[in-house]
C-alpha cells in the first residue's frame, strides 16, 4: 500500500465518520458525497474504473441530489432543537472514533493483499456503454425500478405531509 492509498483511506474514514456524527442532515449528505468521492478514487487505484465511474456519478452525484431534494421538503430545525440534536448525536455515537482507532490498529497488523485483489479483478469486457447496455442491462432495469420506488417513497412519506398541511 502506497502513501497515497493511506491518505485516501484516512480521508475516507474521516468523511464517513463525519457523515454519521454530524447533527445536520444537509452536512451529513455532503459528507456522504465526499466519502463516495474517496471510495471512487480508491476504486480507480484498484483498477476498477467502471465501478469508480458509477460511484462518482450515482453515489457522489445522483443519490446526494435525491437526499437534498428530500431534505428540501422537510422543515428546518430551530437553533434550540439543533443543540438538543447535537447532544443526542454525541451521546449516541461517542464511541465511534474509539472503534475506528482500535479497528485501524488491528487492521494495520493484518496483511491485506490489495495489489493481489486488484490483479485478480476481471478485466472489463468493453467500455462503459457496452458493459451497461449489453452485459448488465438487467441491473440497469433494476436500478430504474429502485429509483422509481425511491421517488414514490418520497412522494408518499414526505410530500403527502405537505399536502395534508
Amino acid at each position: 500500500m502506497t502513501a497515497i492509498d493511506m491518505v485516501l483511506l484516512g480521508a475516507l474514514v474521516l468523511s464517513a465518520m463525519a457523515t454519521v456524527m454530524t447533527a445536520r442532515l444537509l452536512r451529513a449528505v455532503i459528507a456522504l458525497a465526499v466519502t463516495s468521492v474517496f471510495v471512487a478514487l480508491l476504486m480507480f487505484r484498484l483498477n476498477a474504473n467502471i465501478a469508480a465511474v458509477f460511484e462518482l456519478s450515482v453515489c457522489a452525484g445522483l443519490i446526494p441530489a435525491i437526499f437534498i431534494t428530500s431534505i428540501g421538503l422537510t422543515q428546518r430545525l430551530t437553533p434550540e432543537a439543533l443543540a438538543v440534536r447535537r447532544k443526542e448525536r454525541l451521546r449516541t455515537v461517542w464511541y465511534l472514533p474509539l472503534i475506528v482507532i482500535v479497528a485501524g490498529i488491528a487492521l494495520s497488523r493484518v496483511h491485506i493483499p490489495l495489489e493481489t485483489a486488484a490483479a485478480l479483478a476481471p478485466a472489463p469486457a468493453g467500455d462503459v456503454r457496452s458493459v451497461l447496455w449489453a452485459l448488465r442491462h438487467t441491473d440497469l432495469l433494476g436500478q430504474i425500478v429502485v429509483l422509481l420506488g425511491g421517488v414514490f417513497g418520497v412522494a408518499v412519506l414526505i410530500m403527502e405531509v405537505r399536502h395534508e398541511q
Binding site: 485483489a117 485478480l120 479483478a121 476481471p122 448488465r136 442491462h137 438487467t138 441491473d139 432495469l141 433494476g142 436500478q143 430504474i144 425500478v145 429502485v146 422509481l148 420506488g149 425511491g150 414514490f152 417513497g153 412522494a155 408518499v156 412519506l157 403527502e160 405531509v161 399536502h163
Partner: protein, 474 residues
Amino acid sequence: MLSLLVLVPLAGLMLLSLPFAAPLRNRATILAPVLPLLQIILVVLHPAGFWSGSGGLDRFCDFGLKADDLSLVMLLSIGIVVFVTLLVVGQLVEGKRQRFSFTNVLVVAMIGMNGTVLLSDVFSLYVFIEVTTVSSFVLIAFNREKSALEGAFKYIMLSAVATVLMVTSVALLLLVAHGTSFSVVREALHASSSNVLVKIAMGAFVCGLLIKGGLVPFHGWVPDAYAAAPAPVSVLLAGISTKATGIYALIRLVAHVFAGSQSLNHILLFVGVVSIVVGALAALGQRDMKRMLAYSSISQVGYIVLGLGCGTPLGIVGAVFHLFNHAVFKSLLFVNSAALEQRLGTTDMNQMGGLGSRMPFTGTTSVLASLSTAGIPPLSGFWSKLIIVVALWQAGYRAYAVVAILLSVVTLAYLLLMQRRVFFGKVPQALAQASEASFGLVVASVALAGVTVGVGVLFPWLFNTFLLPIGGIL
C-alpha cells in the same frame, strides 16, 4: 415473453405518472389487480409460447429471465398474495390519493419480486431483492405513525447489514468465478470448494438472506415491522415479500448454486430448528394478534429452512411447498386480522371474544388457516409439513424431525388459544354491535381458504404433477 412480467407493470407505472393520465389514475386501484390476476392465469394455464422465453419481446430485449418449476410456484404465490393485498388496499386505505400512492409502491414491490424469482445472476438477484426491500420500507412506514416508522427503521438498519454482506459476497464470488451468472458461479465453486474466499462468500450471502427472511437470530425486526405496518402491508410482508427476498433466494442459491455443501446444510438445519422453537414459544405469550402471527411466521419459515437443510430433492420439494402454503395461510390469517381491525379498531386479543357469531366468514376462514398452519389433515399445511418430516427422517436427521413434530403441537396450541380468545366464548358488551367485515375482505378470506382446502384435497395429483419436478433443481 417473460420480460412482460416485469415490463408491463413498469410501463403501467410510468404511464400513470404522466401528466395527461390523471383520469386513469383514479381507476388505478381497480386496474392494478388485473396484473396479479393475469399472472395467476398465466401460471395456471401455462401457455407454452409465453413461458418458452425465446420469442416475442425477448427477441429484442433479452433480460436473461428464466422460469423453471420453482419460479412458477413463486410467481403463483406472488400473484395470489399481491391480488389479495390489493383487495385489502381497496377496503382499508382511505382516500383516492393514498390508495393510488399505495398501489404504485405495491406494484414496484411486485416488479422486484417477479424479477427476483426469474433471474439467474447473483448480482441481478441482489438488485431486484433491493427493489422489493426499498418498496417494503415505504409501505411499512406508509401511515407515518411512530410505531410504523420505528418498524421501518429497524427493517432498514438490518437490511443495510444484509446488503453489505450480500454485496461483499458478490464481490468475492466475482473474484473467484470471474462472472456472476448462477452457472458460472456454481462451476467455479465446485472447482475451488476449499478456497477460504469461497466459504466467506457463501457464508456472507446466506447470512444476508437469513436477515431478509427474518430467521432467528436475525428476527428482531419482524414482529415490529409486521405489527406496526398497515394491514395490507402485513399481508404482503408475511405472505410473500420477505419470502421472495429471503427464503426463495436462499433456496435458489443453496440448492442450485452452492449445492453440495454439507456444513451449510447443517447450519441451515440448526437455524431452522431454532427459528421453529423460538418463534412458536414467543407466539404463545403474545396478546396482540399481529405480533403473534409475526412470531408464528418466524416459526413456519423455520420449517421451510429445515426442509432446505436436508439437502435432498424431497426436502427441497417440502420447503417450496411449505413456502407456497405459508404464503396462502399466513396471508389469510393477516386478512382476518385486517377484518378484525376494520371492525374493532384494534388487534389486541384481550379486548375480543365471541366474534365467531358476529363475523362468521372471518371466524371460519381463520379456523381453517390456523388448522392448516398447525399441520392438521387434509389441509395444505399438513402435506408440506409431512413431506419435510419424511425428508428429515430419510436423510437421517431424526432428532430434527421429532422437534418439528413436537413444535407443530405448540403451533396448534397457540393458534387454538388465539381462536378461543377471539372467536369463541361470550361477546363483550362493547362488541355487541360488531358485524362481518366488508365484502372485499370476505372475498379475499374465502378465496384464500378455498386455496388452502383445495390444495390439501388435490395434494396427490399436485404432488406428482407439480411438486416432484421441483426437486430436480438439485
